[in-house]
């Protein structure tokens, strides 16, 4: 019974890895063959970024059991920090891949720091305070970036807040220009980089969940009082989950921004936070493969619905409602359970038949000798 359970868990994790890898390979092959529409091609990097965002938020909402309503804020921190790093290092690091890696790490680190600072007061409290504070955090970050000016010249980076009084030296250029955001980004994010980031995010989350710390995080979610009674520090594990989640969101933000020509702060607003929460809820709390599918499908959907022109968002909403109704309908759920059981039986049957056949040939082989 125990073996079965552990292997079921691991199997589901491996299935998720396999799903991501297979989809990546198929899309790569289709892309090589020129069978992908240019719209979808343009969407690949944002899809990867949103998938990582959904995974990251699922760690906070599904595994830790806390609500974050400002996850786009962390994405924003990662996007701008990462982009400033990438743009300013353009001369010193010629390799685009290395530069992207540096951008991702800088984005993740800055977002993790932001998560840590928010976490210090908020994660000591119980209840919905995290939701309230992260909601405010998203808005605050938007305002800060809208009023932040960063420029670079021979003397290094210069920053001004509220108004741009900077005089840059010779050869200097503005990187972040307040409400104008960062224009003219060199697109260095690739689909492969996004795919690797998804794998890294999955690796971190799965391994964390199946370890001592992950158990403690889920214990805090399941029963706070009992967790304390067995000597588990609530604040420490809440903080750990939240900071990791923020770091992943930061990396996703950096990836997203390096795939755009321009990033502006208003892109990462409350609507984006809610959109990511929708991915997580629709995909299922704590279910990583669900988040991946939901994030990918719902990022493509608005593009795919372009033919409905102004009714696009209406159709989008209807699709969302239908999916939610369908996933909560016991009959439809029962149907899918039966279907998956049927497929499993079929596979098992074929597997057994194959083994039997192999066994018979073995015996025959043995008999001849």
């Amino acid at each position: 019974m125990k073996r079965l359970n552990i292997s079921r868990n691991t199997r589901s994790n491996f299935a998720t890895y396999a799903m991501v890898i297979i989809v990546f390979l198929v899309l790569q092959i289709l892309g090589q063959g020129g069978m992908l529409s240019s719209t979808l091609k343009g969407q690949l990097v944002p899809i990867c970024a949103y998938v990582v965002m959904a995974l990251s938020l699922n760690l906070t909402v599904g595994v830790l059991g806390e609500l974050s309503l400002g996850h786009a804020g962390f994405m924003s921190v990662g996007a701008f920090a990462g982009t400033v790093a990438a743009v300013s290092l353009q001369a010193s690091i010629p390799s685009a891949g290395v530069r992207l890696l540096v951008a991702l790490i800088v984005g993740a680190a800055c977002a993790a720091l932001a998560g840590f600072l928010i976490g210090i007061p908020v994660l000591r409290l119980n209840g919905d305070y995290l939701a309230i504070v992260t909601l405010a955090f998203g808005e605050i970050i938007k305002s800060i970036v809208n009023n932040l000016y960063i420029g670079m010249d021979g003397g290094g980076l210069h920053a001004r807040f509220l108004n741009n009084t900077m005089t840059l030296g010779e050869g200097g250029r503005m990187i972040l220009n307040g409400p104008m955001g960062i224009p003219g980004i060199t697109k260095i994010s690739t689909f492969t980089a996004g795919f690797l980031l998804i794998l890294v995010a999955l690796f971190i989350i799965f391994n964390l969940v199946n370890s001592r710390s992950g158990r403690a995080i889920m214990a805090v979610r399941d029963n706070r009082i009992a967790a304390e009674s067995v000597g588990i520090s609530i604040t420490k594990y809440k903080m750990m989950a939240f900071v990791i989640s923020a770091a992943l969101a930061g990396a996703a933000g950096a990836l997203f921004a390096q795939g755009q020509t321009t990033v502006i702060a208003t892109k990462f607003d409350f609507n984006t936070s809610i959109l990511i929460l929708v991915f997580v809820v629709l995909g299922g709390l704590g279910r990583m493969w669900g988040s991946i599918i939901a994030a990918a499908a719902l990022t493509i959907l608005p593009e795919a619905l372009r033919q409905f022109s102004e009714y696009r968002m209406l159709v989008y909403a209807i699709v969302l409602i239908l999916v939610m109704l369908a996933t909560n309908n016991p009959q439809i759920r029962g149907f899918f359970t039966r279907l998956s059981k049927w497929i499993k039986d079929l596979l098992l049957l074929r597997f057994r038949a194959a083994r039997k056949l192999a066994g018979e040939t073995d015996q025959k082989g043995g008999g001849e000798q």
């Binding site: 359970n5 009992a226 000597g231």
Partner: protein
């Protein structure tokens, strides 16, 4: 009812005049409460709670509903901070400790309304009890460094050993929330034991159990005490259990201790009979 045939334990006083079993008297008590009390606003929930528990003693805490028994547990585990008095755990004042530190110092508990990590497996519940004895960090866990494999292997083995006390090894993979009621109560005890306590607090361990399950539980509590050489303080309404295995008993009523002593003394104490059955006179 099945009462274990055990020799009557003689209680002897410690320097603070509290009584502990004679066999533990050569060592200081594991727990001593002095004039412990807590007020909730104007309501005094527990007052002048003074008692000692020997290192291998099984002590009963009984009293009518609302007498403040669970509040005493919550004071001992620092869910509430006492308003008055001191708690000495193995001679150390727990005044500045919180729930987590008290557990690390050696008090583990179960809950009246079961509090398991119901979405996690039985084995994971026990491993969470072992949490502070598993020595590897989050980084080893994420990167699957050798420490992770070594410690998880030890933890798995230890968890299975602990589950075997109640013959629950077969249930290790099951979801804790899906266990039947009795098994959930037993799992809570195993989880508490996993933290390696020197004092185990059991809050109504036999609640909802039938007589044969209760008899088995009694044997197991004694077995746990004998194997781990720890003290047990239990709250229970089932008198066959309390009178059967407890060596010292403490009776609470309206937050005050009304009687302390051996089971025989308690059974014949007029105050206790009055608290449980009424005085027989119109008041």
């Amino acid at each position: 009812m099945s009462q274990t045939n055990r020799p009557a334990t003689k209680l002897v006083p410690v320097p603070s005049k509290n009584m502990i079993p004679e066999r533990d008297a050569d060592k200081s008590p594991i727990l001593e409460c002095q004039h412990l009390g807590i007020d909730f606003g104007g309501l005094t929930a527990v007052n002048e709670f003074t008692m000692a528990i020997g290192r291998t003693e099984i002590t009963g805490l009984i009293g009518p509903n609302g007498a403040g028994k669970t509040t005493v547990f919550n004071l001992l585990t620092k869910v509430y901070q006492p308003t008055r008095g001191t708690i000495l755990l193995d001679g150390v004042d727990t005044h500045n400790m919180n729930t987590v530190q008290v557990n690390k110092a050696g008090i583990a508990r179960t809950f009246q309304n079961i509090r398991l990590f119901s979405n996690l497996s039985v084995e994971d519940n026990v491993k969470l009890g072992l949490h502070n004895h598993i020595k590897y960090g989050a980084l080893s866990g994420v990167l699957r460094l050798p420490g992770y494999w070594r410690e998880e292997k030890i933890a798995h083995k230890r968890a299975m050993e602990l589950l075997s006390i109640f013959h629950m090894e077969d249930l290790a993979g099951a979801k804790a929330g899906s266990l039947p009621y009795g098994a959930q109560r037993r799992l809570e005890i195993v989880r508490a034991l996993a933290t390696n306590p020197s004092l185990l607090l059991l809050d109504e361990p036999a609640a909802g159990m039938n007589p044969s399950e209760t008899a088995e539980l009694m044997e197991n509590i004694v077995k746990i005490r004998d194997t781990f050489q720890i003290a047990v303080l239990l709250i229970e309404h089932d008198m066959s259990l309390v009178m059967g295995i407890c060596e010292g008993i403490c009776v609470l009523n309206f937050g005050q201790i009304i009687a302390k002593g051996t089971p025989e003394e308690i059974q014949n104490n007029p105050e206790v009979i009055k608290a449980y059955l009424g005085s027989g006179k119109e008041e």
